[in-house]
Amino acid sequence: MKHESIHKDLIFYLDNELPEEKRTAIENHLEGCADCRSFLVFIKEEMQIIEKEKNPEASPYFFARLYARLDERPEFMPQGLWIRLAQPAFFSMLLIAGIYGGLRLGSNASSGIINQEPASTIQLMNDFEAEPIESFLLDEL
């Protein structure tokens, strides 16, 4: 077996993922080849880094920092909760605004209608009389 074909299978050999036949062939080659053995050690040590470094110990302040961030930003309130709180508030305000607007409109109608609105209506009517729509259309032609 060539060194190159051994090299490209060693990572799978380490992970026990090769069929029995291939495995035996590699072991036979390794017995007589120092260079392939040396690369096997190299790649094994590299892959063992993962086993050594994984699941690192978290900082004891993880919770404290997380809660501080949770409190400093109100947008971290759950979205569902926002909607549940904001919706009734929004509709109450809409209702109040509606009632207030209605009251204002009502009081305007009773007091302002005599003073202002007739004047503007007359103005508008006069404009129409001064410039009839027919003559406006004729001008365009």
Partner: protein
């Protein structure tokens, strides 16, 4: 408290439920982020972002998958985004250093290393090499490999998290190992460590 009760609690803004979620999944989320970003400080920051996102969007959780699946997805997405941004920043930083003649970061690292005892040099160089090799993997291979090697997840669970077929996971992990081996062999031949 089962998963649906836990989520319901978080949806209602219950801090106790949230704390229970964090306590249960903290190790898992930090470790997943760590496998991709290779720094404990960054992994913890990202894990916090993941939990804050969960707290904020618990209302969107459909409940048709496990909480862990949801957490793995957010953790891997955020970690990949972080690495992408860092890469972009690093590119512009090196560009800036080229034009302004700024301090070379590599020389800083080697200066620090010279103070450390011999066995540490080898260990940290080994780590560097492995991390660089993992970073070179295409993103999908990197996620599948990290979930398999750092989190020891079976292929079926990785398939659910990544929403791909079992055969795709097998292929991704196989190609990831092949790529890593090639890079390690290249370094071995050139005696780069």
């Amino acid at each position: 408290m089962d998963e649906s009760e836990l989520i319901k609690g978080i949806q209602q803004g219950d801090r106790k439920a949230f704390r229970l979620l964090v306590e249960t999944y903290q190790r898992m989320v930090v470790n997943t982020c760590f496998g991709i970003v290779h720094s404990m400080a960054d992994a913890e920051d990202l894990a916090q972002d993941v939990f804050l996102e969960i707290f904020r969007t618990a209302g969107n959780f459909r409940g048709d998958s496990k909480i862990s699946t949801w957490l793995y997805r957010i953790a891997t997405n955020r970690s990949l985004n972080f690495v992408r941004n860092k890469k972009r920043k690093g590119f512009f930083q090196s560009l800036e250093e080229t034009f302004t003649g700024g301090k070379n970061r590599n020389s800083e690292i080697s200066e620090n290393r010279s103070d450390q005892p011999d066995h540490n040099i080898t260990d940290s160089q080994r780590k560097d090499l492995l991390h660089r090799a993992i970073d070179q993997l295409p993103e999908k291979q990197r996620i599948a490999f990290t979930l398999n090697k750092y989190e020891d997840l079976p292929y079926q669970q990785i398939a659910e998290i990544m929403e791909i077929s079992l055969a795709s996971v097998e292929s991704l992990i196989h190609r990831a190992k092949k790529n890593l081996q090639e890079q390690l062999l290249d370094c071995y031949k050139k005696k780069c460590v």
